[in-house]
């Protein structure tokens, strides 16, 4: 009757090993291969030379590269979508020339807009009241914390390309935000003053695609 013990031990070992691998990789390590699908998205046109994050000479000839803070892992222009911990809400974060615009939305009751900056690899943005958004890029993925309605969540977001991203429409009956993720799933809400109501379907022809700073 040793079989069950062996089963148990193998399961514990596998779990332990996976946990250790996770623990070992938790500090920002740089050599994890980014998912191939996300790599080409990062700023295809803006950064011709300094694709390598650790460019030896920060004063590269390209003025655009100089505008980026040296060593900043944020591309000159990028869009990220992701979810908060527990998959409660969608978030879209857009970066352009170190300016950040972002939107958090659970599609039901919680939503918030954020504006700020992304310098030296740190994203810092503020929303209404005490709403705040922070983050940093690891292995091409953005992660950090976001707060709204007095609560705060951790989130992760991956680079995406159009038509995924962040959309906004302002009408007399309120401002609508939509997060469209890489799977095409859309999460949106309309805010009219203090009231929040379900968003109409996203119409790309009337909604504005938001870039960093918009």
């Amino acid at each position: 009757m040793r079989g069950p013990f062996i089963t148990l031990i193998v399961v514990v070992l596998l779990g332990g090993i996976l946990l250790l691998v996770n623990l070992a990789r938790t500090p920002a390590d740089s050599n994890q291969a980014a998912a191939p699908s996300v790599a080409p998205v990062a700023a295809p046109a803006q950064a011709p030379a300094p694709a390598a994050p650790k460019a030896a000479d920060p004063k590269a000839a390209d003025p655009k590269a100089k505008a980026d803070a040296p060593g900043s892992p944020f591309p000159a222009q990028a869009k990220y979508t992701g979810r908060t911990e527990g998959n409660n809400a969608a978030i879209a974060i857009t970066v352009r020339d170190n300016k950040v615009s972002a939107y958090l939305c659970d599609g039901k009751a919680i939503e918030g807009w954020y504006k700020g900056s992304a310098t030296d690899g740190k994203l810092d943005a503020k929303g209404k009241g005490s709403n705040q958004l922070t983050g940093s890029v690891t292995d091409g993925k953005l992660s950090g914390t976001v707060s709204a309605e007095g609560r705060s969540w951790s989130y992760t977001a991956a680079p995406v390309s159009a038509p995924a991203g962040l959309y906004r429409a302002k009408t007399p009956t309120g401002t609508t935000g939509w997060v469209k993720d890489s799977n095409g799933q859309v999460t949106g809400l309309t805010r009219d003053g203090a009231a929040v109501k379900p968003a109409p379907p996203l119409d790309p022809s009337s909604a504005q695609a938001i870039e960093g700073g918009d």
Binding site: M1, L8, L18, R25, E85, S143
Partner: protein, 204 residues
């Protein structure tokens, strides 16, 4: 035990007439059957509790080492869990044959054993990701049920593995543990993988 010769060990001594406050049941410490039942259950409870406490105390990282070939960690988990559920169904039917009236062929218990092992091993990366990246969550009924059932699943698994090694097991013990295990797995799967497929679409 110093029992006199020719006297069988008596687990229910009647001499102690000054009765304790509680009605006297079978003395649990000396009953091998009770040990066989309680020990694995206690171990399972400890494991379930430890998992839950770890999930609650560990600061969720929001990410974990991902598996290649899937659009996201969530989908890798969902498909691993779905495979485990399919194997869980194999478990259910092979157990049904093993506990049926007719004698089960030998390969059925082999199938039961190995489908179970593979099913649990498939769930381990999912569990580690859940514990490490997300943690024990109670923010919505779905994630609360999922968290509780996840702890129950591994606690029951430990109980069942330990029970298998115990002598003098009552006949209902393994079916009950197996039933709880299967139900917990289905519940965990419904509150995660099926939910994800429903919300974000059925793809890899």
């Amino acid at each position: 035990m110093s029992t006199p010769p020719f006297q069988p060990p008596d687990p229910y001594p009647t001499q102690q007439s000054p009765a304790p406050a509680q009605p006297v049941g079978p003395a649990p410490t000396s009953d091998p059957k009770a040990v066989s039942i309680l020990l694995p259950l206690a171990a399972g409870c400890v494991v379930a509790l430890l998992l839950g406490v770890y999930g609650r105390l560990h600061e969720p990282t929001g990410y974990s080492v991902n598996l290649i070939g899937f659009s996201s960690g969530a989908y890798a988990k969902a498909w691993l869990a779905t495979l485990a559920v399919l194997l869980g169904v194999v478990q259910l039917f092979s157990a049904r044959i093993m506990y049926g009236k007719a004698a089960a062929p030998a390969w059925v218990s082999t199938l039961h054993r190995w489908s179970g092992r593979i099913a649990v091993l498939l769930t381990v990366p999912v569990m580690v990701h859940c514990l490490f990246a997300l943690g024990f969550e109670a923010s919505t009924p779905r994630v609360l049920v999922h968290s509780l059932l996840g702890c129950l699943f591994y606690g029951t698994f430990v109980s069942k593995m330990l029970s298998l090694t115990r002598p003098g097991l009552p006949g209902w013990m393994l079916p009950v543990l197996g039933g709880v295990l299967f139900s917990a797995l289905i519940g965990v799967w419904l509150t995660s993988a099926v939910w994800l497929f429903d919300v974000q679409g059925l793809h890899s």
